[in-house]
Symmetry: C2
Subunit: 189 residues, 2 copies
DNA sequence: GTTATTGTTCACAAATATGTTAATAGTGAA
DNA sequence: TTCACTATTAACATATTTGTGAACAATAAC
């Protein structure tokens, strides 16, 4: 409950919104209570960080485990990353985390492996490296889209609707990319 | 000089590193001097924001105006975005800026238009929308790569060298994408 | 009902960040 | 030189954030 409010404050006011006084006020409780729960202001922030990260992983899981057609999955991923909660989380992690730590250890690893297998199976020759590159392209693009998509749209002079259609365009192109490359792979061998 | 030190503090310690006391200490001056120059702590931060943004635009201009072969340009863009100063800036902007403002008004607009023209010319049918999508894909991916590339690499189980080669792979694929799509466009019309 | 545990508030304290002022030193122009 | 202006410092003042401890209430276990 408190973390949900903190998350909204992060999305609305950035890191400066993450002080215990304001969060407690939004939650209608005394800031001492908040300290009692999380030990310290910093403890509250790390709790929020893991909480938001788990939420992101959960949302990604829901998309990837759904039985939606493959080409809508990319669209969903882009939509997911453009949600204020998630892209602010990624920006926050990028700013604060000095280390190159993976999002989480544990359940998400299995999830990623699962996607990797799925994509690899679709590639002639089952080129894992190619699959990794494709996924990397999709995810990094989705992240970049979420973080500075609107600004880029402005700079490129793209209309609102064109920006909205970009995810769909990407999800059309990526499978073609796989096929295209796999054909050249067949030529090579 | 002061802003350069502030920029290093942003890259090293995140937003919490951007307080006038620590910055002044790093610069070897009194924090009153810093206030005298920038008017306020907030004034210093906005000065840093525009300064870093201009640096980013300048670096992009240098790459795009160089006479390097077209396929190395994407690689350079990715390398640029992975530099600590630039990706932290983008994360900062994403966190603090509520508005969907373009990076800058002014010189960069002409720059982007220039790229757009260049790419459009290479497309059969001169499909501007397609060019915009391609550029959007390249830039958003570069941004995402800069912001959480290492974390994604970990999660995908990619080797260090494979991650390093990803930009080169992208710059191979994107032109193919143009050609591929332009052929279907010819079929359509 | 008593007890222990937990959650909560309040008043205050400590720490940190920001801003102010007066004094001083340099710098260039008249 | 003298004057005006700018840069700089140090000490102080204010504001904001975080943390502490005692007191009190609620709750569940015994």
């Amino acid at each position: 409950m408190i973390l949900a409010i903190a998350g909204k404050r992060l999305a609305a006011h950035g890191i400066r919104g993450l002080n215990i006084k304001d969060i407690a006020q939004d939650a209608g409780i005394n800031h001492g209570t908040l300290l009692h729960h999380f030990g310290s202001a910093e403890g509250m922030r790390t709790a929020l960080l893991t909480n938001l990260t788990e939420a992101l992983i959960a949302d990604m899981s829901a998309i990837l485990n759904s039985d939606a057609p493959a080409d809508t999955i990319f669209v969903e991923l882009f939509r997911l990353m453009s949600q204020s909660g998630h892209n602010k989380l990624l920006a926050w992690r990028a700013l604060e985390d000095a280390e190159d730590s993976p999002l989480t250890e544990g359940p998400s690893e299995k999830l990623i492996q699962q996607i990797l297998d799925g994509v690899t199976r679709r590639i002639q020759g089952r080129d894992i490296t190619l699959a990794q590159n494709i996924i990397f392209l999709a995810l990094s693009s989705a992240v970049g889209w979420g973080i500075c998509g609107p600004a880029l749209k402005q700079s490129l002079g793209m209309s609102r609707t064109q920006q909205d259609q970009f995810p769909a365009w990407v999800s059309e192109q990526l499978p073609k990319l796989i096929q295209w490359t796999s054909q050249t792979l067949l030529d090579t061998y």
